[in-house]
Amino acid sequence: MARALLSPVIDACIAIAESTGLSVGDGVAPDCPKPFVVVSAVSSRRYDGPLSDGEADSADRIQFACVGNTRQSADLARDKVRAALTFTALDAQFNTNGADRRTLRLILDIPRGVQRDDRGLPEPIFTGIDQYLIETTPTGASLMDRTVTDSVGVTDTVATV
């Protein structure tokens, strides 16, 4: 089974943010007018091991920074992301990416609100920040057919009951 070796959670979050029609940057500001959303991974915990381990749970803290020229536009962008980011949407993205994960918990951990930044700017910038804690677990499909690459680069498929 195909497996995304990089964090599937941040990929899924970026795809979900893009599905709202907003301009999305992956940790950087996109080269486009405001409003836009910057999605970034703040931290990532592995409870049991790496994501390539089919038995590893993980908890990722993902930040959505919604930047606009007005408070309304930043708030609207934030609200669109909140509406789009659901269990179902995350699991659908995991399926699409072949990530072999499903969502355990989705928590809006830090809703920071929209803040105005006037520092040295010709016009203010409004930024609304939400941090989500997303816990995922493997679906279990990988336990039946796991691809293992050892330290010398030999790839083998291990069938596990």
Partner: protein, 279 residues
């Protein structure tokens, strides 16, 4: 009986002759049957839970203090690559640990105005770039599972845990666990409890056991270079014991076996905090 055996095994010592239970049915008079059960070692069992209840708060404070300071260190380490003036770096600090009704708390803080921009990100007003260098939340996320794991392992003392593993073993937890075990299940203490309860004839063997234990402990301390820590622990233990005995514990525990239990346990606990973390 099985439960008694399990708890005795927690200590790492053999159950001993007094950790036994017996029961049966005996004919009293014609047509009357008495169901009876006796359990020796009940006091040891009771001490086990008294000890946990008394030691939990100080141990939790020690662990909270440790992990609070660890989080501050993590935050500094993460922020280090983005140091400009160093003001943010220098302002990262952990407060003194605070006791709470059911636990302990510590506050890890950063005190510069620019810290929130680093933590949550901002649009740079010249370049238009998104600058985001979080350091507090990643540090908290790194420490939180370790902290919770340490506390959970400590709570498992009541059932089966023999020694701490993982991050908890780095937190001075094994020192505390060793103190709990040694203070509860050593032969000298055990024999002492029987003596307090009114059984005579054991004072001599108890004295030998205490001397032996102290001698071994001091030799070990001298070999491992921890003699000063041991002395501090002994001193702090006595202070802690007298402080708690004169404190707000229930009157039922002020004298007799109860006082001995608290004296012993609290002493070890306070000694642990002094020697394990602050020294």
């Amino acid at each position: 009986m099985a439960q008694l055996g399990e708890i005795a095994n927690v200590s790492g010592y053999k159950p001993g002759p007094a950790l036994t239970a017996a029961g049966g049915v005996r004919s009293a008079t014609l047509g009357t049957w008495n169901l009876y059960a006796t359990m020796q070692g009940q006091r040891v069992l009771m001490e086990h839970f008294y000890a946990l209840s008394a030691i939990y708060q100080p141990a939790m404070m020690v662990m909270t203090e440790y992990f609070g300071n660890l989080m501050a260190e993590f935050a500094r380490a993460i922020h280090e690559k983005n140091i400009d003036t160093g003001a943010t770096y220098d302002s990262i600090m952990a407060s003194p640990v605070m006791p709470m009704p059911n636990g302990a708390a510590i506050q890890v803080s950063v005190a510069t105005p620019q810290a929130q921009f680093l933590e949550f990100g901002f649009v740079h007003h010249w370049t238009g770039q998104w600058i985001h260098n979080p350091f507090m939340m990643p540090a908290a996320d790194a420490v939180a599972p370790m902290y919770v794991d340490a506390l959970q392992q400590f709570m498992q003392l009541a059932t089966f845990r023999k020694f701490f593993t993982g991050p908890a073993s780095d937190a001075g937890g094994n020192d505390i666990l060793g103190m709990v075990r040694n203070s509860l299940y050593s032969y000298s203490k055990y024999a002492g409890d029987i003596q307090v309860l009114g059984f005579g004839g054991l004072s001599k063997s108890r004295g030998i056991a205490i001397k032996g234990a102290k001698g071994i402990g001091n030799i070990q301390a001298a070999q491992s270079g921890t003699m000063m820590a041991r002395l501090v622990r002994i001193g702090a233990g006595r202070f802690g014991g007298s402080a708690i005995r004169g404190g707000n514990f229930g009157s039922g525990m002020m004298t007799g076996p109860g006082a001995r239990i608290y004296n012993r346990i609290s002493g070890r606990a306070f000694g642990g905090s002094l020697s394990g973390i602050r020294m």
